[in-house]
Symmetry: C2
Subunit: 326 residues, 2 copies
């Protein structure tokens, strides 16, 4: 199972399907999605045109606070960008700040690079550095100023800093999207997590012309679906929804912490979209929850960790509390 | 403008937007799309799971008549497959049967291969041969038996025959999908054209294990959106709709031929989704139609050709007839 969680079919194979249905807490996807509007027929029917894509990219530029000098491109999910980015550097030494989302190291290795997982921004010795900010799963935040200064150093050496901001909507203060366009910096954003629409497949890269134009050519025309373009444009332009959602996620995250604490589980970190628990009984707990139809996220390399997404409603919270009691 | 047509924004820039709106005849997309059903929230909200993808692939296997020994995989449009396929062969000599859809030669060249456009299936001298069947834009059909025999010859040499069946729904008798799974054959199918849902981004590759598994890993998880999986599964399973649609397209194609003939234009070929006209006044006609808000498909390399998609209704046919009169 990949780091994203969401392997409900596999969980059902293993534990069976509970009477009350599964509660999937294995992802960091907002359980209160942006309401999908009725779509114009053109979104389904026509090949996405340059004009509608431009409207989406303008909405993304504004929502992420990128300057006009940045090139912004859309992809069918930020995973597609994580996969393709490594093919746009000659073989080199890559540092991935971790532990983090495993796809970064995997994809750079797959493209033939030498990858090392490092605990902090390295002094030197690497051509590419990848930082997920805020980090998944532990929520570690690097100050935006540090990252921008680091990107400038990388740029002077002809290097690249990749910042994966998949969960940055809930910590906008750490985003470096406002510095996108400078040499040496590439920012990745995910649409599906904060907007709760992971099935839509939409993500963005923001950066300087050379790399971004190569990535764009690589992804090809019509990589993003018409519905993703339309819904993305509307949602990214809806500032009121984003504000309300940030508050709602913040409250829900505090409530989840309280629930976990009440059952003796201490939260190591996380963001308002997921919480990471460290406990000696993580393995047993994962099993016990699974038998009760609650899917958490376990980590092979970190057997004492367990990550929880937000329960979608009071009933799910009650079932989680019951299961933790047992 | 790429071979796909559909550059309405560019056309509007050039000709302005007519009072009655544009009639886009520049694509080969069915103007009577499969009705998009109300989708379960999961399709939008969740990361597409293995189970829903498997259901889609089973529907595609059945609809295309592929044997169980074939590996079938889904991509966000057959364009994505056309782009990625060339990266799964070492640099080699590639023959593209043409003139045809220009992306084949372009993408193999981009991946570093030596590409030649040839008029017929070559006797030898090539490691990869690409045939679009029925062909776009002229509709030339190669008998399925010839292609299967040719794939067997390619397989014995360690070569590959790629058959792009983007429009094969309207000529099912030429499809080689029933032979998919044999070494040396890779079949590409497009969902959006026959089902009239090009915005959805859905296409398929059918072939033997080795190549298909590499392509699948290359595309990565969650390459196809939840709505595409759901709608594709329903539409591919709807045999009655496919039958009715084949008849409707066949009638509409005959009516378009009659309309073109009545205005002195002779049809060189095509399929029931598009008709190719050859005339000395193709350039002037493209301009005259454009000024009247009708977008046909012109070909830089073939200045005497003009391709027409099906007019969506009687009003569009009448406007086309009027414009051809002028």
């Amino acid at each position: 199972m990949r780091d994203h969680g969401g392997g409900l079919a596999e969980a059902a194979d293993r534990f069976g399907t509970p009477a009350g249905g599964w509660i999937d807490l294995s992802t960091g996807i907002n359980p209160w999605p942006y309401a999908v509007p009725a779509l114009a027929a053109d979104a389904w029917v026509r090949l996405p045109g340059r004009d509608s894509m431009d409207t989406l990219l303008r909405a993304a530029t504004r929502a992420y606070g990128a300057p006009d000098s940045a090139v912004v491109l859309a992809a069918p999910g930020s995973q597609a960008l994580i996969q393709r980015l490594p093919f746009h550097r000659d073989r080199c030494r890559v540092a991935v700040l971790g532990p983090t989302y495993a796809e970064h190291a995997r994809c750079w290795r797959l493209a033939g690079h030498e990858v090392e997982v490092v605990p902090t921004l390295p002094e030197g010795g690497f051509d590419v550095v990848v930082a997920t900010n805020p980090n998944n799963p532990d929520g570690r935040r690097l100050p935006a100023g540090d990252l921008v200064a680091f990107a400038a150093i990388m740029a002077r050496r002809g290097g690249l800093l990749v910042v994966d901001e998949a969960f940055a909507e809930v910590t906008p203060e750490v985003s470096v999207a406002g510095a996108a366009g400078m040499d040496g910096l590439c920012v990745l954003r995910s649409f599906g997590k904060f907007y709760g629409l992971a099935g839509l497949r939409l993500g963005f890269a923001l950066g300087a012309t050379g790399l971004l134009r190569r990535l764009e050519a690589d992804l090809g025309p019509w990589a993003v679906s018409g519905p993703a373009i339309e819904i993305g444009r509307l949602a990214l332009g809806d500032e009121a929804w984003a504000r309300t959602t940030r508050e709602r996620l913040s409250e829900a995250s505090a409530q989840l912490d309280a629930l976990l604490a009440a059952h003796g589980l201490s939260v190591l970190g996380g963001t308002d979209l997921y919480r990471l628990v460290e406990t000696d009984r993580a393995g047993a707990l994962f099993e016990a929850l699974g038998r009760r139809g609650i899917l958490a996220r376990a980590f092979d390399a970190h057997p004492r960790w367990l990550r929880f997404g937000l329960p979608p409603d009071a009933a799910a919270s009650a079932r989680l509390a019951d299961a933790l009691k047992a």
